[in-house]
């Protein structure tokens, strides 16, 4: 993506942001709240149309990118929450994700001709394999609402993976996860990068620093830094924008302590 700009009404959400996810790499996208991470993500999957800029995928420019074309292009994404279909079982949820691998056409599937029966069986098998990879086969017949949140997140990830994408967009995959689960997730993302490129939006710095090959930092819709984790960490602009909050907290704490001291 090059030179992406988006404005909502008069408010600029992204201005002239460029980002390239190299094949087989994990690319992190970080920034404080409201920096425009999710907007950029939505641009990448066609939910938001950029006012300026170009999106190039596998050598060809994507004009008028529409969300429903995404999986056919080989791009999958997970959502910030879990976004599972409530009334479908876990297995069925994952099967919907495998949709693009069905061979039978729409009408033969509707009238259940034999090729489409075989198709259904294949989709089911694919979905089971994806669940296996994420260690969730035991939940196949359950409904999402009855499962703990971390398991729901794994199922959502399985649903994105089952399409066998070339590019996986992960929107805050670690939110709501505990320390151990986050660690497992990191290992998983590293394994995945052997098969596909990953664009990762995440708040948890340690996870991002551990798994990403390259990182782009946004602040208030502008790209303030890009590079390897080490380069980004060393960049003073990042520390200011990002860790600025924590510095504030520290100052506040010091001020409070001082105030307490005076009262005490």
């Amino acid at each position: 993506m090059t030179g992406i700009s988006v404005a909502f009404g008069g408010v600029s959400a992204l201005s002239d942001v460029s980002l390239t996810v190299e094949p087989g790499q994990v690319h992190g996208l970080i920034g404080p709240n409201g920096a425009g991470k999710t907007t950029l993500f939505n641009v990448a999957c066609g939910l938001v149309r950029p006012d300026e800029g170009r999106i190039v995928w596998n050598g060809s420019e994507l004009r008028r990118l529409r969300p429903s074309r995404l999986t056919r292009l080989g791009i999958s994404r997970t959502l910030q929450g879990v976004g599972l279909f409530r009334g479908l079982t876990v297995l069925e949820n994952v099967m919907v994700g495998a949709h693009r691998h069905a061979k039978a056409g729409f009408f033969s599937a509707l009238f259940a001709v034999p090729t489409s029966d075989k198709d259904d069986a294949r989709l089911r098998a694919r979905a089971m394999t994806a669940l296996e990879e994420l260690d969730a086969t035991g939940y196949a017949t359950r409904y999402p609402d009855s499962l703990p949140y971390p398991v729901q997140k794994r199922v959502a990830l399985a649903r994105a993976l089952v399409a066998d994408p070339e590019l996986l967009l992960l929107d805050e995959p670690a939110s709501g996860l505990g320390e151990d689960e986050m660690h497992e997730l990191g290992d998983l993302i590293r394994t995945l990068s052997g098969r596909m490129s990953v664009l990762l939006v995440e708040h948890h710095m340690d996870l991002v620093m551990r798994v990403c090959d390259r990182i782009t930092v946004l602040d208030s819709g502008e790209q303030i830094a890009a590079g390897t984790p080490a380069e980004v960490q060393a960049n003073p602009a990042v520390t200011e924008a990002y860790l600025g909050d924590e510095v504030d907290v520290a100052t506040d704490a010091a001020a409070l302590a001082a105030a307490d001291g005076r009262e005490g």
Partner: protein, 292 residues
Amino acid sequence: MLQFVNVTLNGLVQGMIFAAFALALVLIWRSTRIVNFAQGSMAAATTFIALAIIQAGQSYWVALVVALLSGFLIGAVIERVVIRPVEGGPELNAVIVTLGLFVAIQALIAIVFGSSFQSFTTPFGLRGFTFGDTTILLTPNSLYVIGAVLVTMLALIALFRFTRVGLAMRASAFGQEVARLLGVRVGRMLTLGWGLAAVVGSLSGLLIAGGGLVYPAYMDVIIVSGFVAAVLGGLDSPIGAVVGGLLLGLVLSYVAGYLSPALVNMSALAILVVVLLVRPGGLFSSSTARRA
């Protein structure tokens, strides 16, 4: 005792038709969050198509198939052309559009087929089965009604449970945006949903017409009961619609049999009001939050 049996049988047959009509409403509500007030007119239109075919000398079965197919087409075209532009907009817009369709289609039927009362044949007899010297109110035709609705429901269950298209339709109903991101052609699924719903609605129209008189507004009575049945079962649940339809059929039949036939419509509305006051989500709802 005989009267009780007869009233119950009558209620079950009526209930089956209500169930089919309510099911059509639920299918559309689930996929597009629109209450289709035009359902009755659409069903009436297909019944008149069937009538024209029968009058042209074809058999009832040919007429039935053509009517159901044209029902599918009407439903699909209406979704694609009239409903699509108001989908996702303010709910009131869609309500007004379907109400407009309700009136427009009814007027169109009157223009094309005339507005006189015409009799509609049945493929099966209307004389009750006889045991010894008592005749009960169960006719070959009522068996046909029950059978046709049951077969349709089983076919729908099979479609939704066991096929890939059914899966995609359910996914679209539960989360359009997410389904779209996963590569489901949601628009197509909505068109298909409306088409299928119109087939089920048409079936209820044809079944209620069998052995009776039809005129452009003959479905109006069923519309009220169908809506009550759908609300009774909770608009979201296909199974609820069927159970609601059967329950309503029985209750109304008991009212007609033991109190007065004049009270039937009034009691249908009374049930509607009570359900909306006491259990607005329907008899089988587990969710508490629901918008009107």
